[in-house]
Amino acid sequence: MENLSQVEELGKALVKLGEFHKDLIVIDTDVSPSTKTIYFAESFPDRFINVGISEQDAVGIAAGLAASGKTPIVSGFSMFLIGRAWEQIANSVARTNLNVKIVATHSGLSPYADGGSHQMLWDIALMRLLPNMKVIAPADAVEASEAAKAVVECRAPCYLRLGRSPTPVIYKDCCNFQLGRAQLLRDGSDATIVANGIMVSLALEAAETLSLEGFDVRVLDMHTVKPLDIQSLEKTAFETGAIVTAEEHSILGGLGGAVSEAIAEINPVPVKKIGVADLFGESSRSYPKLLEKFGLSTKSIMDAVKTIVRGRK
């Protein structure tokens, strides 16, 4: 698979969106060369505001702009934008149900060399707790670009979660992204892998290898963690009878948590969660090696599928 960067595609997508949406404003926290909102800055200098390294201030400013009818995007690194300014997001954005888009890059383990201080593994948990907030973690660069459009056009507070590094491309030219609607990427009947972010490509690899071993595994791209696509989950639980979740996030409170909560109520089939155990990240010179160390690998997904399918038989 070809590799493409989510941030790069986001940067380009914002320029396109900016041409059409004259109310679109980007608030940067002094990271535009990394988040690629610098493209927007070059195209629309009057609608780009670098407020400096001030995430809390940035979120408040976005709230004021949205309350004045603008569509502000706050851009920053996930650890600092979500982690540091979470209470500002809760009180000034989510509680007011304002049209603010929180677009954070460098999430999960993707800032691999920077270490635990930069590796945000609990942002989805934090954001999906907030009433009114929508939470989206696209699988690749193409989906990131389409998700950005959907997020800008939906007139509600949204969190768009992106990685830092180039990742395998799953969708060729378009993915017909629909907010809150999971994508069926591979059909199967023995079990379903429900994944998002970078783990979708690993899930597809795992399903392919498993098919050689006689397992018929379905793969769902659950890019929207909130609102969760309950209909798809209910259907897949009924049709495949077992679910493995896979995410570049703590196994607590993220996609695995959301799916488990829903499944427990609608159709309690067995669920196994692949994600980062209750641990902080650490530095690595290689992204794949870091993912592997924390159990985010094709092999761990395959093992989980085998265990859950055999356990049911």
């Binding site: 505001i49 408040g60 709230a63 004021g64 004045s68 502000p72 000034s92």
Partner: protein
């Protein structure tokens, strides 16, 4: 303000001063006392003695016009829910309503509300472009009460201005009420939520940027608590607002010297406060924060500032208006029945 007599000033010294300023002999003024009485400008006490005559309300207004050249803002007639009223009477009514509301709710910040009454009254009744009949009017000036715990003061004023019926006030903090413990968008006339300290100035920057982009002349006012200045986000925003040259923002610090656990200077010293804001690039004004005239003068000046945001350090008294509440003793508790009646006596 030493040259301005208060309403209960004895007639003798009052007449002496009038005589001096107007160049009219005292005896001539005394001779005209009966006609002043007939015109209801002064009133005799129960013994009918000239010595203890007092100025009536209207007499005081006229007196001040003569002495001062123009009436104090306290005597300006402002539009309220129940017609035109002198602003001074509104201020008194607002304080009484704050007491009623907090007593009824069983909790709320009386002291912090009292210190900010004149600031809010000056803004709502004299400064801001507002339309109580159309709270979401797009050209209105905006107010963010960043020290959201002074909400009872804001609610009492909004009701007085006619945004919602007075009867709502007694539902403060009640389940299902439009009056939440801290400012909320479900209340007509509230421009932004607050309650979590430190966030209002950043939101004001967002409003100010949008106004500039839209070519709107609306002004954005933010009221900050002095204790609130402990929050780091305030100083992030202070840098941003001056960097962006947002001269359509006026921030007002309710400098009442107290925060929750004690004096601001003992908890985490703010002084020299003026120097800090000047260093951050703001145009800084000082006002007597419980004095409408001083506030209006400074607020007027702030709207002429170009190229940078304005800050007013409004020196106020926590619990202003009720002697035993002044200082820090009434931070966050409802007054008892006895305290309530004593306070009402002082406010009447």
């Amino acid at each position: 303000m030493s040259n301005v007599p208060n309403a209960s000033m004895p007639i003798n010294s009052l007449l002496n001063e009038m005589s001096e300023r107007l160049g009219i002999p005292v005896d001539r003024l005394i001779r005209s006392a009966d006609s002043l009485k007939a015109r209801k400008l002064i009133e005799y006490d129960e013994r009918g003695e000239l010595r203890s005559v007092k100025l009536t309300g209207i007499g005081e207004i006229l007196y001040r016009i003569v002495i001062e050249g123009e009436p104090l803002p306290e005597f300006w007639m402002v539009p309220t829910r129940s017609g035109l009223k002198p602003l001074g009477a509104v201020v008194k009514e607002v304080r009484k309503n704050i007491l009623r509301m907090v007593a009824e709710a069983g909790s709320g910040h009386v002291g912090a509300s009292f210190s900010t009454v004149e600031i809010l009254c000056a803004l709502y009744f004299l400064k801001m472009k507002k339309d109580p009949g159309n709270p979401n009017w797009s050209e209105r000036d905006l107010l963010i009460l960043s020290k959201g715990h002074a909400a009872p003061a804001l609610y009492a004023i909004l009701s007085e201005a006619g945004y919602f019926p007075e009867s709502e006030l007694l539902r403060l903090r009640e389940l299902g009420s439009i009056l939440q413990g801290h400012p909320d968008l479900r209340t007509p006339g509230i421009d932004f939520v607050s309650g979590s300290l430190g966030q209002g100035l950043s939101v004001a920057i967002g409003f100010a940027l949008a106004a500039k982009m839209d070519g709107s002349r609306r002004r954005i006012y933010v009221i900050l608590g002095d204790g609130e200045l402990n929050e780091g986000q305030i100083w992030e925003a202070a840098l941003t607002a001056s960097h962006l040259k947002l001269d359509n923002i006026t921030a007002i610090i309710d400098r009442n010297q107290y925060q929750f656990s004690g004096e601001t200077e003992k908890v985490k010293a703010l002084e020299p406060l003026e120097d800090k804001w000047i260093a951050f690039g703001w145009e800084v004004f000082e006002a007597e924060g419980n004095n409408l005239k001083s506030l209006v003068r400074v607020l007027d000046l702030s709207s002429f500032v170009r190229g940078k945001p304005s800050l007013v350090i409004a020196k106020t008294t926590k619990g202003k208006g009720v002697s035993f509440m002044e200082g820090n003793s009434f931070t966050n508790k409802a007054p008892s029945v006895a305290e309530l009646s004593r306070a009402f006596e002082e406010l009447t």
